[in-house]
Structures are given as structure tokens and as C-alpha cells.
Amino acid sequence: MESTILSINKLNKRYGKIHAVKDVSLEIHKGNVYGILGPNGSGKSTTLGIVLNVVNKTSGDYSWFGGALQTHEALKKVGAIIERPNFYPYMSAKENLELVCKIKGINYSKVDEKLEVVGLIDRKDSKFKTFSLGMKQRLAIASALLNDPEILILDEPTNGLDPQGIHQIRDIIRLIASQGTTILLASHLLDEVEKVCSHVLVLRYGEILYSGTVDGMVAHEAYFELQANDTKKLVDTIKSHPDIEKVSETEGKVIVHFKNEVDAAQLNQYLSERAVYLNHLVVKKLSLEEQFLALTNK
């Protein structure tokens, strides 16, 4: 059994009237890459803020590493970057990382190595305030990696970056993921999550809409696109199928959703037995983006 790194149980956060996080429960297991998806203001950052000890919860529980450690001790084994990179502008990259080492209680031996990983070794003596946003974000990643963390938490790591910057950050994330580090990635960028994550949590208005594997989310709602010479007969026949959920017509094609899993061959057989012959049959899976929009627009 893989070990649990973080478990969140019925977490709630209210800011006055606004209920920012509603009954969020979640288990993070070692070795997986998790994505938290949600539009802006859906409670992603608040949830992360709570487990990272900067936002106070209203109710609920969370525990790191099975509850064996106090939160701030556990955070020494976690690497996290939130929203924007926060460092002392008047210190150099190296000095900033050394300060993080002091806080985490580790020695300075990893500083150069991690600056190398994010490609900032040449600028290690430059002051933080002279860095571009992309460099600041990479320094934040270096800082989060300093302790070789059990889990890396990234909140919108590519926000505000140019295409090169986004690409660099993604490469770094992929590299880290390939080394078996558990990652929790909050983002509203769907392709980012789809490309990197194995599990996904979808939030809207602080509520969980979906929690499970990315494949599960994408595969769950497969639908059929059908076409026959006699469209009316096709529609009438398919409506009598016992598992039918929804039938609609667009651009001469009939879109069919089933409640349960129906195999394409079974469907074809079912229709031909009732003398409906198809000239077009496609099984379509929703992309994560369509799936996400479908979920969040309900």
C-alpha cells in the first residue's frame, strides 16, 4: 500500500459571508502527480494555504504524513510555491536559498545543485530584484527543491510567464515528476494538468466536483456520433435503447449519450437488428477541457 502524504478531511473556510472552501476531502498518496483544477476563485489557493499553515481553517482537519508531525515540522519536508515568488529583493539568489536552508534546518550543500537544475547557476550572485519573472519563478522552484521534498506543491507555477518561461517550468516539473517525487499542481490551465497529472480534483465555488484519475474523468463520459440515411428512424430506434440517456442532433449527426458503458459493436448490432444501417459511427471521448467545462457549467 502506498503511503499517505497528506489527508484532508471535510475542510471548510469562510471569509465572512463567502464560503471559500466547502467540505473538501482529499488524500494524497506517495508517487502520484495530482492536479487541482478550477476557475479563478474556486478555492484552490485557499485550500493549499490552509494545509501550508498560512490560512486558518474554519472547520475540518488535515494531517501531514499520517499526523506524525506538527504542521510546521512537516512543512520542512515539503516544497511549495504559491502564486508569486516571495524572496528578499536585496539578497542574491544564493543568499535567499541559504536563508531557506537555515529555516528548514539543512546545510548549504544543495544550494548550487538546485540552482543548476533550474538553470540559474550563472546568476547566483545577482540580487533577486534584478531577476525577470521567469527567473524568479525558477528560483522559487529551486527553493522548493532544496530539501529534496517528499511532495512538491505548485500553485499556478506558469502564471504570467511568457511561452519560453512556461516551457522551461514544464520541463522542470516533468523532470521532477519522472524522478518519482509526488506533485500537487494547482492550475486553471487544463492542458498543463492533462499532460503532467495522473489524478485530478475539480473545484468550483469551493466544492469538489470530481476527484479521481485523469483517465477516469476523460473515459467516463464517452459518447457516440452516428449518421444514417434515415435520420428520423435512427433517432426513434435509438430512443428505445434501454440504456439511453440523451439524444441530440447537430449538423446532420446524431449525438448519443448512454447511462452505462455501451460498446460500439454492441450498438451497431442493436441498430442493424432493427434495420437501421449506419454510415458513420464514432466513439468520442471528451477532452479534459470539454469535460471540465461540462462539470463547471452545470
Binding site: Y15, G49, L52, N53, A74, I82, F87, Y90, E95, K102
Partner: protein, 278 residues
């Protein structure tokens, strides 16, 4: 504890403005020695401070700690900005995420405050010792090391004042506003005292007793002004017929009041950080 101090000193020492202010503070402190060279020669009337006895043991402990406490505003700026910067850089949040507890965070700030107060006290101690041995008429061991409670009072005074500054930094989050508020608070204490004492209660001494509990007033009560204690001034006072018996001692009750204020400030800072969503 060493870890927390080293974290905090790095934050202050790498900041150029804080570094210059801190160095400037100690340099200007040592300028107290220059008072020794002040000489006025107006015809027959001669004033030479060093020869007037201000550097005599044990009076020098009282004189130097009183003068030195004026310079505390230098370090007050450093302390307020070291706290306010943590908010504006977002590093308070980052420090917590990196694994510092909120308690450790406040503790590291408090230790810095203690270190500043202690550093100033030791500095004044050494400087007064040197000045005293150079100019004092009495250098017997028992006289040199009498009245040392002024150093303790000086230390507690700085501790209380810096804790107040730290608290304002935590509460207000912006250094300029925090220092502005400190000044306004000072005015509030002084003006309300004036109104109560001279207008409302008709010079009732109970007003003084009450104001001895106010934060800034209690700090300034720790070391009262030393000038009227000088024999020269005393002679003048007797000559003009004023016979004011003033109490120059350091009182245990004043020490206690300031220590209680320091504890309140530090504890409230912790409560604020704990309660706030950062």
C-alpha cells in the same frame, strides 16, 4: 535559538538601509564621548562639561544611559521595517511555508529585539567605563560599580520600546504608518496627560500615578533626567530659592510595568500573526 538569531541577522545585515542605520546608531552612541570636549569660555565664565562632574562615577551611569536612550529611534526604524518588510515582500508567508512556525517567527523577531537592547547596554557599559576612568575624580572599585541599576533600567527601557515598535510593525504592516502611529501615540499620551493633570484634575498627583502605567510614560520614567542632579545646577537652584527634592532612583515598580508591557506587546504580536490569514 542560534538558528533563529542567525536567520534574523541575515535578513537585517544583508539589507543596506538597516545595516547603515545600525552601524550609524553605534557610531553616534560613541559620540557621547565628544560631550567631554565641550568647552565654553565666555570671559570669566567657563563651562567645561568633563570637569563639571558629568563623567564622575557613579553619576556617569545615569547620565550616559539617559543621553543614549534618545538614539533608540535609529533602531526603532530598523525593527519596524524588518517586520513591515516581511509583509510587503510576502516573505512572512514564505517563511511559514518553508517550515517556520508562527511561534518561531515571532520568537526570532523578539530575540533580535533582545539582542539590540543587550548590544546597546553592553556598548554603553564599556564606553562609560572608559570615559569614567579617563575623567572621573573617583576610581575606587566600590564607587565605579555602584548605581549599576541604571544599566538595567536602560536595557529594560530599550526592550520595552523595541517590543512596542515590533508590535506596531506586526499590527500596521507598513513601516511609515507604524512609525507615524508611534509618534501619534506619544502625542496622545502627552496631550491627554496635560489636559487631565492641569485642566480636569487640578494638579492632582493621582494623575501621575495613573500615567506611570502608560507604555511610553512608564519607559521614560525608568531613567529620569540627570541634569538637575549635578551639583553645579543644584547650587544654582538653591541660590534662586527653589528646593525641589526629586527622586532619581530606578524603581522596581517601573521596571515591572515596562516588562509587563513588553510581554503584552510580544504576546499580542503572536496572537495577531496566528489569527490573520496571510
Amino acid at each position: 535559538m542560534k538558528r533563529l538569531i542567525s536567520i534574523e541577522l541575515q535578513k537585517i545585515w544583508k539589507n543596506r538601509a538597516s545595516k547603515i542605520l545600525t552601524i550609524g546608531y553605534f557610531v553616534i552612541l560613541s559620540f557621547i564621548a565628544l560631550i567631554a570636549s565641550i568647552k565654553f569660555d565666555i570671559g570669566n565664565f567657563k563651562i567645561h562639561f568633563a570637569e563639571m562632574g558629568i563623567f564622575n562615577f557613579p553619576f556617569i551611569w545615569h547620565f550616559n544611559t539617559w543621553v543614549a536612550s534618545f538614539l533608540k529611534f535609529f533602531l526603532a526604524i530598523v525593527i519596524v521595517s524588518m517586520m513591515a518588510n516581511e509583509y510587503s515582500y510576502g516573505t512572512l508567508k514564505q517563511n511559514l511555508i518553508d517550515g517556520m512556525s508562527k511561534k518561531e517567527f515571532i520568537l526570532s523577531k523578539f530575540l533580535t529585539v533582545v539582542l539590540f537592547a543587550l548590544g546597546s547596554t553592553v556598548f554603553i557599559f564599556v564606553m562609560s567605563l572608559i570615559l569614567g576612568y579617563s575623567f572621573s575624580s573617583y576610581t575606587e572599585f566600590s564607587i565605579v560599580f555602584s548605581d549599576m541599576e541604571y544599566l538595567l533600567a536602560y536595557f529594560v527601557k530599550l526592550l520595552g520600546f523595541f517590543s512596542f515598535c515590533l508590535f506596531l510593525g506586526v499590527l500596521i504592516k507598513r513601516s511609515a504608518f507604524a512609525i507615524g502611529f508611534l509618534f501619534i501615540w506619544f502625542l496622545i499620551e502627552k496631550i491627554s496627560y496635560g489636559i487631565l493633570k492641569f485642566e480636569v484634575f487640578n494638579r492632582n498627583p493621582k494623575v501621575d500615578d495613573f500615567y506611570a502605567f502608560m507604555p511610553l510614560e512608564s519607559m521614560s520614567n525608568l531613567v529620569v533626567e540627570p541634569f538637575t542632579r549635578l551639583s553645579v545646577i543644584k547650587n544654582i537652584q538653591t541660590a534662586v530659592g527653589e528646593n525641589n527634592i526629586k527622586d532619581y532612583d530606578v524603581h522596581f515598580s517601573s521596571l515591572l510595568i515596562v516588562l509587563v508591557w513588553s510581554a503584552i506587546f510580544i504576546f499580542s504580536s503572536y496572537k495577531i500573526i496566528k489569527k490573520r490569514d496571510l
